[in-house]
Symmetry: C2
Subunit: 244 residues, 2 copies
């Protein structure tokens, strides 16, 4: 610990938010355009410093999201993603940032707030590929957030958080396909979802049909943890052969 004359180090605490949503069956992340230096004009995750010593991290995250993107944030469930503390990650000095992850259903285009020149959804693949360049270490944070979402889709009912209050099983499959980045067999998916007790519940009668048979509607069920889990087809994990 410390002796009595020890001087607390000057370290700033910040929060960064990875907000993911689905638009046109593609995974998108919420980015702002930075209005101040450093990285002025560059894209970045919403976020900022804790404002006073009693402010909680989650409270700060909600505040920044409201300030920068004017999103209705009450319904978002923030989950701790990790701490980013590379001493050189911010040119202003030592900034330790706690990243949060949240999943949003289809939301209206956010309006720019005060601090950020612009806020909007960007396809995650354009961020990961480097086509959209992010300030600080935010690309890494986005990558970590996506990987977390992929993993959580396997073991939790997180997928329903991407959907509105009611949804079809095909819409739910769209979520899995977009986040996992791979196609799934609709028939096996349907069977697996319906056999997982408490994952989804019937919600009224059928609806929707630009064409084809109308789909039944469901809503999120009480089950949070999926057991057995949804299985993410092997893309190429750590060197396992397709078949022995």
């Amino acid at each position: 610990m410390s002796d009595d004359r020890w001087e607390p180090p000057a370290i700033l605490l910040a929060v960064d938010l990875v907000i993911l949503t689905l638009r046109d069956s593609r995974l998108h992340v919420l980015l702002v355009e930075r209005g101040i230096e450093p990285y002025k004009g560059a894209h970045a995750l919403p976020g900022g410093f804790l404002q006073h010593s009693q402010e909680g991290l989650v409270a700060a995250a909600h505040r920044e999201l409201a300030e920068e993107a004017d999103l209705d944030v009450e319904t978002l469930r923030l989950e701790q993603l990790g701490v980013y503390d590379d001493p050189d990650r911010d040119p202003r000095g030592r900034v330790v940032s706690v990243a949060f992850l949240a999943i949003a259903p289809r939301l209206p285009e956010p309006t720019a707030g005060t601090d950020a020149a612009d806020a909007g959804w960007h396809p995650t693949d354009r961020v990961l590929s480097g086509d959209v360049r992010l300030a600080f270490d935010h690309r890494r944070i986005v990558a970590d957030g996506i990987e977390r979402a992929r993993a959580k889709l396997e073991h939790s009912a997180l997928a329903t958080a991407f959907c509105g209050p009611t949804f079809t099983i095909t819409e739910l499959q769209d979520v899995y396909e977009a986040v996992w980045g791979m196609p799934l067999d609709p028939r096996n998916f349907y069977r697996k979802i319906k056999k997982t007790d408490g994952f989804i519940l019937p919600a009224g009668s059928a609806r929707k049909a630009a064409t084809g048979r109308p789909a039944r509607l469901f809503r999120a069920g009480p089950r949070e943890v999926l057991y057995p889990p949804m299985i993410r087809p092997v893309d190429s994990p750590n060197g396992k052969e397709p078949v022995q």
Copy 2:
């Protein structure tokens, strides 16, 4: 973000360490006896404040571990466990703590360092049950660390980190049984482990036998991610609580 006359809040950053090991087939956690207020004399996780503004979190964790428990810490791989930021968690003021998790093979009894009156291994069940009371919110942190270890045993080769350089399959099973807290069938376990390519590699010939047939020796293989995963028998699909 901030305007130019904004005063940085006085927030202290700390690290806490959950070091788990196996002793007599029971899961143990490393605790120190606090030598200073608050909670002087109580058990607590090793940890402490960042000492200067350029010190990294992992570096601080290593330093504290060396100071307080005099453990050879070079081989420990620290993994971020989470951030604990309840404004009331420390009576001295606002202390935000980053917890790390590490798994240690059987280690010698640690010797007390300078800051801590005593350091030693304590069975985790006595911590979780409340028989051993911890300072601050450290009981919660230990619980989170154990749950993380349980989950990681399913999908990673973490179990080998509990073992020495070489081990038998039965010893590996002991790890799973102790961390998961449930018995496993040795024959099915044996088959499952051996069919997972790259999990373990043969290491010399047989050895060890107080009684019974000598077991073959193995060492950790290159595989880090287990696919398909080890399956934790369902005893209660305990839900994960949302991060506050």
